[in-house]
Symmetry: D4
Subunit: 249 residues, 8 copies
């Protein structure tokens, strides 16, 4: 439940158009709601500006449905991340307004159109073609949180001229998300070209000494450019979320 | 050299108050200047909004002096990080306007007062007393880049009520830097309480399974709060820099 | 065989109600019994207050059945941990009194009701929904060993107010088990609030730099709260067992 | 400040023997006291049954003195751990009642005799001679927290008969602390012999593949005996503290 | 081809009972034979006292058959290790004298009875039931190389009395192989009881911080008993082979 | 597009035999071509002497086909590496001139015969039979880039005489690629025998402490022979490519 | 005390030449002797054929002297390993018969000449010049335990012909110790040439990806030759001890 | 001794100008010379085109002098790497023709001017100022082996325009050595711009998650450019050596 909704309910109580009993019913789980297998944090929208996001991995389709049904009552948007097609196929019929994005493994349910909150544009770059699913997760998260987002895919450092061709997009952005696997060099190069914050996302793309993304992660943490901060391996969602909080500030 | 200075020089050329020869002299190292042991990146102020910062570790006092002397001609502020007292003692007499901060191991030289560029306040928190040097480095960096900065030290999760006492500072900040060693839990707790971006800085404080800060680093990358991004271990400078770019956007 | 049973057998020998031959038969495997693929440690109940527990992973259903049949003769309770549904389906028909708990992957066979031995209450907390299976294993183990156990699930530090709501349970417990994956921060926060022993259980929940639970493990070992000790990743059984020995002391 | 002291102050206020102003003075830092470089957690005695302990590493002698002077006003006992002889030599003259234990690198200041709170005896074992400093830290911590403590040193598994000679001490203990480096096998063997909780402390003793104690740590976490929980490498203090909370319960 | 066979062939050439052409045919691959996908090292029997052993993992059943057919001509025994049931099912019909041991994943083909070459007895111990497959591989290898071998399974340190029951076997052995997973403590305890060489084999049995056998490996390398040397994780074959070379010397 | 082709097109424009519009059509993607999921780097042939190579892992058969169709227009050869049989079966019908090499998991499409560019011979060695797939990938890559290549398989250090038999091949080579798993010792021995560059390729063959090739990788990086440089684990392609650039120089 | 000495004492008691009181005095510490900081294992000579060896690292010169004085009464030989020159300088005056070997950091005290117990010769090889100190420790240990020992130093694989020159020593040995740092390849090559047991000792010689000897350790554990077992990094003592037990068998 | 020298000696023997005894004296150590602490590999010049290089670390100044004196008789050039100033000060007076390079920690002794053997130019790049010592070691090694070498220092990816300024040097080189610490991104970018072989050298420059150069090493092994091979951390010598063998081919 976001702060506007709370204001609205209380106003209707004040002017008598909502009975106290009805208001209690709406507000009683304001702090959090215990459904046995989860404590749904309904207060999060108010506290953090965006509702709790459901991490789909390791939850059954039934549990996800259950949580979504509770959240639907209070929230205007629900994101489910890391959701496999199998589970999505079970959940979608119950939530016909929801959209499932297979490459990003993400389900988005919206009560209404998202209002643009972000002040600038967020640019999402990927170093390779195989990094696109993680980049898409970042893209969709940032977009769902009310931002203009642009993407440039497959512009890794092995052919750095491909990036330079798109320099105008970097120049117009207010935050940049850079997604890269293997040696994870792209965020350093990009950050060296701009003065805005860069969120680096290592991916598990690679083999051998890439260690499932660790090499890219460590390379990004050691970036010789200083306007870089890093999120967990394959954490496109976190990058999109962080970029949105920056763009909102 | 920042963009304002460049504008100014070119204007004086345009109105004839500066001769072409003098302007050439001033601008000839605009891209970068090769001093044998370094390529000083004078273009950086224009490109990134802040001049190159000198990483003091592994450079001799003579090299640092040499680079500072070249930069002085073009820049309004010079930061030297990770500078030991020994080297500072050699450098300071040559740059009497410079200030050395022993706990943060940082030297700051300013041509003039720093103009406030940041829109909000940056809060710097440390989990323990031993994390203070890293927190101070973040503090001084952010301040040098034109920001209002506030600090709260020694508010780790073993006595979480100490943090709650200062909640109003968190509520008024636009970016928060959280510095913690050992289990690195503080950023998650702080980020769970606010809607703004949190920059987490792991420190090498701890022993045994703290692995010189790796445990804190990994804990922060796994934060269950999503508005967190991470910089390298003990990288107070990077955190301050990143926070400044966010606060400027 | 527990000490009471031994006393009882020897008394009946003393008063002549059991023949020496019968007693020999009952006691001959008192130390341990070699069944080829295992040395069943029948002495363990006497030595440690609880019979050997069968670790199901890497044993065939036939071997598990075989060991259970030997133990049934001597013990009042048998636990099988890390038992997959497939093997459980083979074993259950042969032991109709046994109960299988799918989420905890645990099978419990009891000859009679368990006597309460623990002096206080053991509280089992989980940080997330996905940590519940490990928490359940701890719960069932502690309960099987004769303790009152209470559980609070999904109260991680991203919304720490959810934990505070249940503070009375923490205050009334004599030992607390805290189960958490990802950054593993919950045990530090909980232990900072209480004066009793906290057993921390890292789980393999997470991805990327969570390293299958290592990050949580190391974070817990570095806890800035001192009333914390740690067991192996996903070792709900060990945590329950340890908590029971503490509650019994 | 412990709960008894608080009761006492409030009683004297109630019966008029203490003025309100005096009581305010005594109680105003009840929650925590900010001395710039530290937030001293005076509430900890009440919340956790033992005052905050000063971790000496990475703090100057001056800071340690400063914190001790603040704590002296409120507490009956102060422990400083990981304190080098050099710093102890600076601190001791100011606190003549304090005792410094060089092998354990620990300083103990007491206002009065420690009251025995523990119900049973805590046994502290070391596998080798080189593990003794860590074992001593555990010993002194547990003793300072009001426990009877017994020690057996140098009884590692290369000559396991040395341990068996002392079996009666194990049988009479209520908690056992086992300190071992190298392969860290001793806790498993000890825990296999008893039914009480065993706290295992890995030490950094060893070389090559001992990895500064990591091998011992991991071995202990994998103990095939279930009544074992583990603390950080060389964390004798934590083991003593945890054992004390168990013995108090 | 072993040295006796070579002597024999040359004798028959000398006494005219074998033609030179026939001898050439038999001896021409004496050094090694190139079959495209392998250089079969026929000289190995002479050089090392035992023919090359076929590592089954990562080879097709066809390649294994092909190598076996070449070796059959020259050798009296062929071992194939790490051979899955599937491949064994393809190979066995072609080599009806071969025996497949499913638990040890080993195929043994013998031209004639193995002659006892070892001077003493080799004892093979396993810490747990799940370590038996690796122990069996060691057992079969040592036996195939002409040794008397005895085994004791499931005598881990959690109930060390089970081991003491079999002390006479240890006392009569000339080499001991100890197979253990988890904390890998058994070799230290065994080696502390005897004066003969102990070959320690870590297994990948365990979970969490057992790291697929690394913890056991490192523990064994750090053994506080000095008559211990270690082979690779799960390398029962290598342990059996090493023990055989020791027992032969 | 290689430099010769570009010259040719421009000549035909110069002499009027190609219209400007046609030339534009041919040259418009000279820098790179954006197909949504990839930025195909057509300039690479000119810049690097060989077209972009398609890394098959993590791309759909459709995407690979799509990229191949775009490249076909501009390039004389296309390599697809790490391509599974399944995807090859989908792609091959569309490109009947392409050849699929199952062991090397490589697809090669050629417009015309490859011209020999390499000055000497490249020798490819493998230590074991299981290392052959990686060695084949190196072989095919070097051959596709216009080199004479010779191979010697299964000549590891356990029977070093097998290698000496082939010394003449080493003596006549201009570059040597050595592929080895397990302890990765072969490159050191080979490099110690020759004066030419040796490219070492670690493979993931092995188990236990081979860590999926890391041990071989680190051993090769520590080679006591100095004419050795190393590529990533299982990177036969990279080794072939590097050897080709050396042989071309 | 070794078994012969025990026999002798008891005989003199039997024939009355030693009083019972005197015998008690001599035998009372037969099991082990507690000197506060150590449990000296006097039974070890009988159990293991060689007295306890004093690990000098982390013990004070005073403690070492103390233990030596107790052992002198019962043993014919005392070894102190990892003893720095500084401590040796304190200890030597008190034990004038002792010899200190600086390169091996070893002190040897002998009551009488060592009797040759080993049946064959032990060969000690080092790969490089820097590995000699560890090789010397192995040499002296094996020699002290009653063996003929030969050494060949600096015969690493970068010039493998240096090793072949000494093949006759390998052929005449009954056990070989191979000491190597960096890539640790020498044991594989040596073991491939002989049929006897090879004890491999990794050393911490190297830099970068040698990880203080870990790379050599892992390479040796992955040896493609099967007659290799491994001891801890830099553990020359353990290798000499193990070789002696093999040579005695 | 190089092949020309050998030819020359044999010719003088053939024409009688050298007596057989004198020739024997000169040639008797042709294979290798055993000086107790080292087997000097005099054959190396012939076999590998360059004499053995002395690794100074872990050798005494006396040993280094001794080896140099033996080599002087046979070789035209001697390199000593990783030699500290202290040892150099002892060695230099004895070899007045030798030159010591402090930054590269390298001593070079030459009998005569070095003949240029390399066909092209070798370019040595460093990413930062702190990487210069390693780059210098590469520079001096390649130069000593008879190559033209050019260097460009401090052109890391944080200001990539600094590199582009020097593109003509890259275009004219036949091999490029790229030295970089921290995130190790420079080799990928450079290799993406050229078609010649690139030797990447990670350095230990950095802190925190740079792990003493491991991050740079792994990043380089994962380079998305294929004309890159890698040497050990800080191994400037190896890079120079490898580049020289490539440039000679």
């Amino acid at each position: 439940m976001d702060i506007n909704t709370l204001h609205q309910i209380l106003s209707t109580v004040a002017n008598g158009s909502t009975s106290i009993n009805d208001a209690v019913e709406k507000l009683k789980h304001l702090s959090c709601e215990d459904v046995g297998y989860a404590h749904i944090d309904h207060q999060r929208s108010m506290r953090k500006g965006f509702p709790e996001v459901i991490f789909g991995e390791g939850k059954t389709a039934e549990h996800i449905s259950g949580i979504m049904n509770k959240m639907k009552v209070q929230e205007k948007i629900i994101l489910v991340t890391r959701l496999d097609q199998d589970k999505a196929d079970i959940i979608l019929p119950e939530f016909p307004e929801a959209e499932y994005h297979q490459d990003a493994r993400m389900l988005i349910w919206k009560k209404e159109e998202i209002i643009k909150l972000g002040k600038g544009t967020i640019a999402v770059l990927s170093a390779g073609t195989s990094d696109i699913p993680v980049a898409k997760e970042a893209f969709l998260t940032a977009e769902s949180m009310g931002n203009n987002v642009k993407s440039i895919f497959d512009v890794g450092v092995a052919g750095i001229h491909r990036l330079f061709k798109h320099k105008h997009i970097l120049d117009q952005a207010s935050v940049i998300i850079v997604v890269a696997g293997m040696e994870g060099a792209l965020p350093s190069v990009v950050a060296g070209m701009v003065s805005i914050p860069v969120i680096a996302v290592p991916t598990s793309i690679g083999y051998g000494a890439s260690f499932g993304g660790l090499t890219a992660l460590f390379a990004m943490l050691n970036s010789c450019s200083s306007n870089v901060a890093v999120v967990n391996i394959d954490n496109g969602f976190g990058a999109g979320y962080m970029a949105a909080t920056i763009n909102r500030s």
